[in-house]
Subunit: 217 residues, 2 copies
Amino acid sequence: MAMSKVKTKKLCSDHRTQVGVQRRKKTEALIIRAALNVFAEKGRDGAVIDDVLVAADISRGTFYNYFDSVEQLLERTSRWMVEDLIANFIEPLLIMQVDPAERLCTGLRLFFQRAEADREWCRFIGRIWTIGPLDAPSKDIRRGMRLKIFTVPSFDAALTMQRGTIREALLRIATGDIPKRYSDQITEVIMQGLGVGKLRIAEIMSKPLPVIKQRAR
Amino acid sequence: MAMSKVKTKKLCSDHRTQVGVQRRKKTEALIIRAALNVFAEKGRDGAVIDDVLVAADISRGTFYNYFDSVEQLLERTSRWMVEDLIANFIEPLLIMQVDPAERLCTGLRLFFQRAEADREWCRFIGRIWTIGPLDAPSKDIRRGMRLKIFTVPSFDAALTMQRGTIREALLRIATGDIPKRYSDQITEVIMQGLGVGKLRIAEIMSKPLPVIKQRAR
């Protein structure tokens, strides 16, 4: 309670942040959206905090009510970008698939398709995205392990291999210097790391990829 | 020739760096060594360029004769640390092993043994080490592919998986929050990703690990 009072007091110091949790979430989203626009305009490496303040039309004080540091803003923004891609573009295309190997394989291919279309996105996500595991792919790995479709030493090792390989691949794709079929090969090597046999991998990979629809804005 | 003259002229601007390539290499090593000492004292995150200048007893101008930026110093230092570990601690213990799977597996276990003993080292290498592939492990992967011991979609995919998984594991080890047998599981999942069968992996993992000797200083 004492904590809450202190927090409230702090929030009251800025007129934009008086009306509770919902409003707070909205402003946080506003800042992240502003950051995304700044990144789109100035490139993600060149953006500085002042650009974000101008774009979101907030004071420095307000910013630090929501984020501890610019680094934290970058982390949350990169997480938002990945979650948005998975929730709004990839998951809708996977609803008909139940097999965890097929879901993960198709999900990875769609993810890399998006990645290859935007090198700057790759560099940003590859460098910044350091936060915990993502819901959907983790669930697939766990289900696959339960069904013995994935045979791995542990969930933690599987997740480390999957995330690490994805990140390293994004950094490589960001250079623009990738061999033919690189993304598909990365998907294959991840599936192999999860213990899926070569024939099964080839079978899944031979299926046509669902098409990502452009979102109406 | 013209290039060489320009370079020489630049070097002459500082009295410490007049005597050619050998001297240049020596000074570069001196700066990296100084950086290592500063990191050891102040922690790798807290170190700033001025600490390195004092420790190496060089001017800012000299520093920038050798490195474009602090980031470059960090990259080269982290690369030096990994290469030193491989060349002086791991490789000497692998000279009796010829099988690429055994060499890579044992090398990885020794690497992670070192990593687990120093979380700060893990964080530093995990975050900074972004430069190209390392000689020894790349050779093992290529040889393993030629001998069909490793069956992977491509060398590039194999290297991405191996490097990415190692880096992600280092970042995890750096948190201090790792499950039991985590490093061994990471080694196993990398071997599986390279296409080595579970029985063969278990066989190699069951062999006792050679002991890293402390280097006399």
